[in-house]
């Protein structure tokens, strides 16, 4: 199977034909416009190695993300970055390529923090292996983490090894009333205290806090924070954008900014996560105005879901960084065949 993928890539490279790398297609909406012949990665599936005592799983790109999570859950383990699926068809390869993390990111770390190794087919059709299955590895440049979030533009992620965490034995969600500025202050202040907080969110004067960990610690923290207990399912709704906030036709912006930035006075409605570091905006504001507002607070705005992406999905890069990024792209994919334009606009 891997040989046939390599063959296809070599063939496309020789013809300079664009390829669109695709798993279940659950994140087709993400990134700039798609083009090219589809390579469906779902045929290359399965867990290659999983030993719970190693806290590492290695699986092929086409592996169903929900099946993988079920397997981990049977062993009371999880993907600590809580990746969004955005559909039942989500695959592990797509998850890594998108590089998106869920509610637990502010406390546990980002997806890329848990990538230990990848097997990659580059734009020459070579099968390459970087990193490995061990926790610490500084041999060579950290290519496996560069691949995370590269949206399939550097190569076909054939296999990936991830660090896991034990599933917290106890988890509860609290809801408190707080206006936005107060909520931002509370979230950041709590994050500086040794509390077992695993997620925070704010929307319409409600502040939600999830506590995860050993039962006595969660109980003690819940008493300190106060508020009323709500269903933990709230976080699934935020992670998967099934929550009512995400409904409606307005473009959805993903605003990334320093967590302590004061409330952003923008047209539309906002839902805040990650102690204030991630703010979702449903708004019809012009793209240039959103991007300018974020630039002022040293953040950046991604046009996450929108019918019209002519403004570009991602915030523009500084010229030096853009040059470096294009050179890296060329190092992995000299013929420029992988998902052209999806991350860096085509020129």
């Amino acid at each position: 199977m891997i040989e046939s993928l390599q063959e296809r890539i070599r063939d496309a490279a020789s013809r300079r034909t664009a390829l669109r790398l695709r798993g279940g297609g659950s994140k087709d909406f993400y990134g700039n416009a798609l083009r090219g012949e589809i390579i469906d990665t779902r045929g290359y599936a399965g867990v290659v190695d999983y030993e719970p005592t190693e806290l590492v799983v290695t699986a092929r790109c086409g592996t169903s993300l929900s099946e993988l999570e079920s397997l981990l859950e049977k062993n009371r383990q999880c993907l600590p970055f809580e990746p969004p699926h955005f559909g039942a068809s989500a695959t592990l390869g797509g998850c890594i390529a998108a590089g998106l993390s869920g509610p637990r990111r502010a406390s546990a770390g980002a997806l890329r923090d848990f990538v230990l190794g990848v097997k990659l087919i580059d734009g020459r059709g070579q099968a390459l292996s970087f990193g490995g299955q061990v926790m610490k590895n500084v041999a060579g440049y950290d290519v496996s983490r560069l691949i995370a979030g590269s949206l399939g533009t550097l190569g076909l992620i054939a296999e990936v090894s991830l660090k896991l965490a034990p599933t917290p034995p106890e988890e509860i969600t609290l809801q408190l009333e707080a206006p936005q500025a107060r909520a931002l202050e509370l979230m950041n202040r709590w994050a500086g205290q040794p509390l077992p907080i695993s997620a925070t969110a704010w929307h319409r004067d409600d502040l939600m806090v999830r506590l995860s960990g050993a039962e006595p610690a969660v109980r003690a923290a819940a008493a300190a924070i106060g508020g009323e207990t709500i269903d933990n399912a709230f976080w699934g709704g935020v992670r998967e954008h099934a929550d009512g906030f995400f409904a409606g036709d307005e473009p959805l912006w993903r605003l990334s900014l320093p967590s302590t930035s004061p409330p952003l006075e923008l047209e539309g409605r906002q839902l805040i996560e990650w102690n204030g570091g991630l703010r979702w905006l449903k708004s019809k504001m012009p793209a240039s105005a959103v991007r300018e507002a974020l630039r002022r607070v040293k953040g950046h705005a991604t046009l996450f879901r929108a019918a019209d992406k002519s403004a570009g999905c991602f915030a523009p890069l500084e010229p030096v960084l853009e040059r470096l990024q294009r050179q890296l792209k060329g190092a992995f994919d000299p013929a420029g065949i992988f998902n052209p334009g999806r991350l860096l606009a085509e020129r």
């Binding site: 719970p52 005592t53 190693e54 806290l55 383990q77 590089g99 993390s101 923090d113 070579q126 390459l128 292996s129 490995g132 061990v134 926790m135 610490k136 590895n137 500084v138 041999a139 060579g140 440049y141 290519v143 983490r145 560069l146 995370a148 979030g149 590269s150 965490a165 034990p166 599933t167 202050e185 994050a191 500086g192 040794p194 960990g213 050993a214 039962e215 006595p216 610690a217 923290a221 990334s256 900014l257 320093p258 967590s259 302590t260 990650w274 991630l278 040293k298 953040g299 950046h300 991602f314 890069l317 500084e318 030096v320 960084l321 853009e322 470096l324 990024q325 890296l328 190092a331 991350l343």
Partner: protein, 485 residues
């Protein structure tokens, strides 16, 4: 070797005389880093004090096509800061300022010459600390930590340098300013921050680092557990993880290591034990009490012969003092020692330990072992006398065999010390030609003329084929006059 004059003349245009060293008596202290077996006098040492000076040094050197080797405190163990004889050693030692602490945002913005331990000291009044704690933390700098992606004894739970750096500013070899990452999460485009961390100073020169600070746990306690068998201790490590516990620290030392340490720091280690585990829990008082009880039960079932739980902070620090002093302690029982840094899957620990014991017999050299057992990172310490060329040669062979064993069991040749010049040959074993070629093109994207820290970390294919030839012949190495570790 080129003359120092052109570059010295060019640097004098913007650097004060005290910031340029080129007489041998002045450059001698820079001839090596913590890997003292490799030495090379730099042509010139530059000691800039401002970022503008760094930028101009880089512009000057890239225009003159002169290699530049960045250096922090020089505590690295893989020769990553070994100077280039025809180049400029760029010491970042004067960049010692903590620029900003933001307790609410939990970040510290520091210059690269700030020592690792200083960050936690300045964060302490706010109840915060910086998690990565390499053993050399009182001396090593943040810039060096970033270059090597340094770890420490708390990585399993809190991660490496990579997981605790939010952003960096610096320059490319051409002196172009670049800013990677930042306080806003998930910077657009490829994750160049992840790529630059651990790149051994070969992609950019860092002038400012934004670090993530964590709340200092209310409480931490450590269990010291004794085992009568090294493999049993290794199995106990896996049992702790299998029980769903991620200890804050999980370290192992074998008997030769505890004996060396005990003479040096009197940490109170069990000298009868074949191996001891230090197993730490941190968090709220409730969490720690709960976790310590669970870990004790697991260790008991795994066959611990004795367990002591630290009663107070002084005792906890005393238990750790031995582990943190392991390298200098070993330095006192042997004229020289050679520290390895392989990482292996935890489940292969017993097998690798048995292999190391066999190598001790084969090469007639002693080798105490200290490990970051929780993350499978081994630091076997081969004891030798560098004045005896045969011992030196046997040590090198010993180390090469152990590193290649690490690769064979699915591990890596370096967990946290870096490849530098030391393990460059083993890179040829760990990676194939296509991966090495890709590393070279990554390097070229940042540094097309290969001027920044040349000859480190990524071997040329020619070097690999020469090393392949050496391995076939075994025993006698060609170019015996070349220092190799």
């Amino acid at each position: 070797m080129g003359s120092a004059l052109p570059v010295v003349t060019a640097l004098r245009e913007f650097l004060p005389e005290r910031a340029i060293l080129h007489e041998e008596e002045d450059t001698r202290p820079y001839e090596c880093d913590g890997l003292t077996a490799y030495r090379q006098l730099p042509m010139v040492v530059a000691l800039p004090e401002t970022t503008e000076q760094v930028q101009r040094i880089l512009k000057t050197c890239s225009a003159l096509k002169i290699p530049v080797v960045p250096r922090g405190a020089g505590t690295g163990l893989s020769g990553g800061a070994l100077p280039a004889g025809d180049g400029v050693l760029l010491s970042m030692a004067k960049f010692m300022r903590v620029l900003r602490i933001d307790p609410l945002a939990r970040v510290a913005v520091v210059q690269p010459g700030v020592r690792n331990a200083v960050v936690s000291e300045v964060a302490a009044p706010f109840g915060l600390y910086y998690a990565p704690d390499p053993s050399s933390q009182i001396a090593c700098t943040i810039g060096g930590n970033v270059s090597e992606n340094s770890g420490g004894v708390h990585c399993l739970k809190y991660g490496l340098t990579l997981h605790n750096v939010l952003g960096m500013r610096g320059f490319t070899i051409d002196g172009e300013p670049i800013e990677l990452g930042g306080e806003a999460p998930d910077a657009p485009g490829y994750d160049l921050l992840a790529l630059a961390i651990g790149s051994e100073g070969m992609l950019m020169v860092v002038t400012e680092v934004t670090l993530k600070l964590l709340p200092k746990p209310k409480c931490a306690r450590v269990i010291m557990a004794s085992f009568d068998d090294v493999e049993k201790a290794g199995a106990a490590v896996a049992d702790v993880i299998a029980a769903g516990i991620v200890p804050a620290g999980l370290e192992m030392m074998d008997r030769p290591a505890t004996h060396a340490v005990e003479q040096f720091v009197h940490a109170g280690y069990d000298l009868q034990a074949a191996a001891i585990l230090l197993c730490e829990s941190d968090g709220t008082t409730e969490e720690v009490d709960d976790e310590i009880a669970r870990m004790k039960a697991v260790l008991e079932r795994a066959g611990a012969t004795r367990m002591t739980v630290s009663l107070d902070e002084a005792e906890r620090l005393r238990f750790w003092s031995g582990r943190k002093a392991a390298f200098p302690a070993v330095g006192r029982i042997s004229p020289d020692y050679y520290c390895m840094d392989g990482t292996i899957p935890r489940k292969r620990l017993g097998e690798v330990l048995t292999f190391i014991a066999a190598m001790e017999q084969k090469y007639k050299l002693r080798c105490p072992n200290v490990f970051h057992a929780g993350d499978g990172n081994l630091h076997p310490l081969i004891l030798f006398d560098a004045n005896d060329p045969d011992q030196l040669h046997r040590t090198e062979q010993f180390a090469a065999e152990v590193l290649e064993k690490c690769i064979e069991v699915g591990g890596t040749i370096t967990g946290e010390h870096g490849v530098g010049v030391e393990k460059i040959n083993q890179m040829c074993v760990q990676f194939g030609a296509p991966e090495l070629e890709l590393f070279r093109s990554v390097k070229s994207a940042f540094d097309p003329h290969g001027l920044l820290n040349p000859g480190k970390a990524i071997p040329t294919l020619a070097r690999c084929s020469e090393y392949g030839g050496m391995r076939v012949h075994g025993g006698k190495l060609p170019h015996a006059e070349l220092p190799r570790f």
